[in-house]
Symmetry: C2
C-alpha cells in the first residue's frame, strides 16, 4: 500500500511561512483530514491534482512552488 512517491513538496515550509499554520488547520482549509496532510507532507504518496490545486491556493502560490517533480523518471 505504501508508494514512495517521486513528487516532493514544500508544504511544511509554506505552512510555517504562513503564520505557523498547523497541519490541522491546513487540512481544514483544503477540506481533507489531518492524516492526509501528514501523509502528503511526508511524501508517502502524491495527492490528487485537485488537492494539489487547493493547497497551492491556500498559500496563494503556483503549483510548481508547492510540488516538485524530478527530471528523469525512475
Amino acid at each position: 500500500m505504501a508508494k514512495p512517491t517521486k513528487v516532493t513538496n514544500s508544504i511544511r515550509a509554506l505552512r510555517f511561512a504562513h503564520g505557523e499554520m498547523t497541519q490541522a488547520e491546513l487540512a481544514d482549509r483544503i477540506g481533507v483530514t489531518r492524516q492526509t496532510v501528514i501523509a502528503i507532507e511526508q511524501g508517502r504518496y502524491s495527492p490528487s491534482l485537485e488537492m494539489a490545486f487547493q493547497i497551492a491556493r491556500v498559500f496563494t502560490v503556483p503549483l510548481d512552488d508547492v510540488f516538485q517533480y524530478p527530471d528523469t523518471e525512475e
Copy 2:
C-alpha cells in the same frame, strides 16, 4: 466510480499542437493506458499529480498550462 472533476485541461489542444499526437501515443509516453487518457481528457476524473507532471513534461509546458482549476470550490 464516476467523479465529475472540477479540474479542466487542455490536453486535446496540446496533442494537436504537437503533431496530431494520438491518445494512444500520449498514453504510451506517460506510461498509462489509452482509457486513462480518454477519461482525463474528458474530465471524468482528475489525474494524480504524478501523471499531471508527466503530461506537462511531454508537452514541455508548465502544469498550469495543461490543467485549470476554477476559482471557487463547490
